[in-house]
Symmetry: C2
Subunit: 193 residues, 2 copies
């Protein structure tokens, strides 16, 4: 027999990108936020212009992204994030992230924007919002010769976990007030004597 | 004989996109702002994976952009704009702008972001930053059956004109404080009895 209620929140083979695009459409259509996935960067080498039909790109190559996957605006604030899936069950491998993406998030953070990662452990069906400020500590650990991943335990500790739902599929904006508050507290503490 | 000083600020065949990318790199490298051109959206139909070399896209098509060309963050503020060139000498044709781009800028404006157009009159070598709030009035005029362009005279009146230079080539961020102040004044006036 069908089990609609327990099936209802399952992933149904969607990629994290699909889930985030659905969620962004939900946010957008309700005036909650305007956040879009950036197109994949392509190096176009050859284009054919057939008579009476659309131009066809006949040779092109994938370029390495110089920024993150998503950015936009929410409650007047600039939001910027990278989405990553892993099949690993116990840790998130840092080789998934490129140097220039870390550099980009660091610049966004310096400008006062909200930068974070959304990590999906696909075998566990678990989703986490990891703020850049927490991520960079583990990234720096790797740079300094430490482990090349963040353990699931660490991610549980440092992130806001998302419970996937229907509308929106992934309500990741709900994690942001917590992240912003944490940041404010830390900045204040750092300024105290 | 060479005339370096009068040639120095000439365009030298660069496109507006080149000029803006140069300017953004300048801003970025100095920590002034983080603003990037979004990649051109492409519909990929076929990809070949040759042994021992990079994947080749062998069939793809240009998609209509659903947002604007550029976005990013400046002084904690979300910035979003569309860049357009015209060869016209007396007006800016509105057919250059797509409905969904206007819709997008309108959403950004509603979220409290700074949305604008950068318009280059290439035959005149003149550049203008036209705030969305001024642009939308002329767009609405067209929707209501009025003229399908904005006259140069109107643009002179409604925009901040940019003087192209060396570093950065187009210092368009310099126009933003004026635009923000104007907006604040208008919002305050609207709230008064
Ligand atoms: Mg990604
Ligand atoms: Mg453009």
């Amino acid at each position: 027999t069908a089990k609609p209620s327990s099936m209802s929140f399952s992933n149904r083979g969607k990629t994290l990108e699909d889930e985030l695009n659905d969620s962004n459409e939900y946010y957008n259509s309700r005036g909650i936020a305007v956040i879009h996935k950036k197109p994949v960067p392509i190096q176009i080498v050859n284009v054919r212009y057939p008579a009476r039909s659309a131009a066809v790109i006949t040779e092109a190559y994938f370029k390495t992204a110089s920024t993150t996957d998503y950015n936009g605006i929410w409650q007047g604030k600039y939001v910027d994030f990278e989405a990553k899936e892993t099949k690993n069950k116990t840790s998130f491998p840092l080789q998934n992230i490129h140097d220039h993406q870390v550099e980009h998030m660091s610049q966004i953070h310096a400008q006062g924007g909200i930068a974070f990662l959304i990590i999906r452990f696909s075998m566990l069906d678990r989703y986490f919002v990891l703020p850049f400020e927490k991520f960079i500590v583990k990234w720096t650990r790797m740079i300094n010769g430490g482990r090349k991943s963040i353990t699931l335990l660490e991610i549980e500790e440092l992130s806001v976990e998302l419970q996937p739902g229907y509308h929106p599929r992934l309500d990741y904006l709900r994690a942001l007030p917590d992240i912003i508050e944490q940041l404010t507290v830390e900045r204040t503490e750092r300024q105290e004597p």
